[in-house]
Symmetry: none
Subunit: 417 residues, 2 copies
Amino acid sequence: MRCAVIAIGDELVTGTVVDENSAWISDRLLAIGVPTTLHMTVGDDQGGIVDAFRICGERAGVVVVTGGLGPTEDDLTRDAFCRFACTETVENEQALEHIRALFKAIGREMTDNNKKQAMIPEGATLIPNPLGTAPGFTMEVEGAAYYFLPGVPRECHAMMEQSVLGAVASRGERAVFRSLLFRTFGMTESQLDQELKELALPAGVRLGYRAVFPEIHLKLIARAEDDNQAGRALSEAGDLVRSRVGDAIYSEDGRRMEQVVLDVLKEKGMRLTVAESCTGGLITKRLTDVPGSSQALDRGFVSYSNPAKTEMLGVPKEGIEAHGAVSEQTALAMARGAVERAGADLAVAVTGIAGPTGGTADKPVGTVFIALADAGGEWCGRFNFLRADRTFVRELTAQAALEIVRRRLLGLGQYSR
Amino acid sequence: MRCAVIAIGDELVTGTVVDENSAWISDRLLAIGVPTTLHMTVGDDQGGIVDAFRICGERAGVVVVTGGLGPTEDDLTRDAFCRFACTETVENEQALEHIRALFKAIGREMTDNNKKQAMIPEGATLIPNPLGTAPGFTMEVEGAAYYFLPGVPRECHAMMEQSVLGAVASRGERAVFRSLLFRTFGMTESQLDQELKELALPAGVRLGYRAVFPEIHLKLIARAEDDNQAGRALSEAGDLVRSRVGDAIYSEDGRRMEQVVLDVLKEKGMRLTVAESCTGGLITKRLTDVPGSSQALDRGFVSYSNPAKTEMLGVPKEGIEAHGAVSEQTALAMARGAVERAGADLAVAVTGIAGPTGGTADKPVGTVFIALADAGGEWCGRFNFLRADRTFVRELTAQAALEIVRRRLLGLGQYSR
């Protein structure tokens, strides 16, 4: 059994609004063992809507449709489906009662166009809407079951959970899908592929790649007859992936890099501080995104100018003059100053040229120094993030700094890109 | 001339990732007068991909395709298109040269599967990728022009802007669409709608809303016979919108809040500094996102703990003990300390409870104090961003802090939410 999802609305197809319903619906359907193979988005145009019904019904046994059920002129979904299914709308007493009750509850008068929402195609079954006036409905046409839901995300979600998932599940023929997500950093997509493409994965397991800059996520999806079989296949496949690219994997449970770093710090009872130049607060911002981060991070220094580096962190003025603000010496002095002034156990410092201007022949845009200082000593690496884009350089620098901290804390080998 | 957009990838169709490329592409095409009427999303399956090419080519003169151009096994777009267009891939010398140069620049070895990216269908024209290894290509099949781009958003966007929009525009038969984007902050969508819903907009002009947390963007789209007519209608509609909700509009030219703030600072030759507690670097990060921000911002203080507030900013320990870290007194002392220690013209300081824990009956999660200090004096406001979500509180706090700075610099009335 396969599924198709249709989203209806001019605002979606012309790009004013991003359709998030279709991905959400597909994700929920996969969780009950029904994979989605097609999404279509069409505007408020009866011909286009009917066309989408036909295309999807020919390709999938289940078609979920969102949008176009409201009370206004541009809500055409009902009429288009009647044309497609050769039927007519009829007033549904249960739906009308529900709309009346809702209007009564908010003390407003019900208008005539609200009554239109109680009309559903003859032969269809009502899908109640616990959160709004527009009911949904379901009907089978030529072997495919169509489910109609409002486009308002919270109503659509509630009706999927309450009515549609159960109805789809009872149509039978479902496989079991289980998945495992590896978050990686430090290898490119093609390097990962080089290592992984000849893996003999167990039957029913597929490996997918997704670039989520600056990371690559690997997802194993196992399809099997039952949970046990899927779990075994996934576990075996996971071992194979780890044996090849384990060093690049920093999380297997969905945790982000900043969360992983904070968890290790808390486990070790250590406190980190951050001194930032080119990233301008991004590293500290990422760490403080995590609830409870104050246990392991109590301050950060954004020292953008040379005087700021000297005054906030005690970086010697002469050192900056001799070696430049973007240098190993300055990065190390920033890290030493930060760890000392914050009374922390470990400091990470970054200084670099994020661009678009400021590059030189020696130190082009994308040149970054990342330094660590702790009781055990200090370390500095030079990186060349040679792409033109300021955001790219800043995000890659922040990610590399966190990875360098993670590797230091876990006693892993040095990070080198 | 109409357009269809196809997105390819298992992660999209199964709902792991929301496809944002298709909406972005449609929005940009509409801006040059080419409306999109259909989006399709299919998985990494050659049959499904070919099917989508056929369906879209039969319905639109322009088909833009994203995804599946990478170097890995599940990147099937090229081969599927060859099957559809009855052609074969050939090595493209220009693409290969570009990939070689990129690998050389970052000092990495080029793998064999990277070479695969230099293969494009025979008869197709290369679309250069200024930001990555995967080139795009374009080819006409049975009267429809297909444009292939990588799924990585920044690469896809750059190639649309640099190559595809011009190529589509030169295909002719376009209506004139012109649009005007108002970025607003401080009014809810329903407050804006209340003010704007009865506006008598000129013929051919539509007003759309889009919530881009924590802002609402208003978009006027004028469709007309020619540029002059569209310009006049848009100008008239813009005046109407400004007359109703002008106070909430902070930008009409696409500039973000941080850019607007920096532009005013530079114009006045002033320097800002930032002292952050609950936002943990987010405000400074946003300001330093903007190229050239160092002219107007030379440092920032992330003082997360009480000792950090005292040591970095000179906030009296006794004051924190008496009033709490989240208080008007502490916020004002942070701002005073920051403006003095940074030698800046203006400081903004924030302290608050971002959650999920740390709230009290007096100061629930979402309680935030934002203070300003400059030569003219000092000011502090208390805000209640009463929602459960940490990200929500932090982003709203950062946005409000920037808006407060903007209003102070421009001598506008005080911000109050």
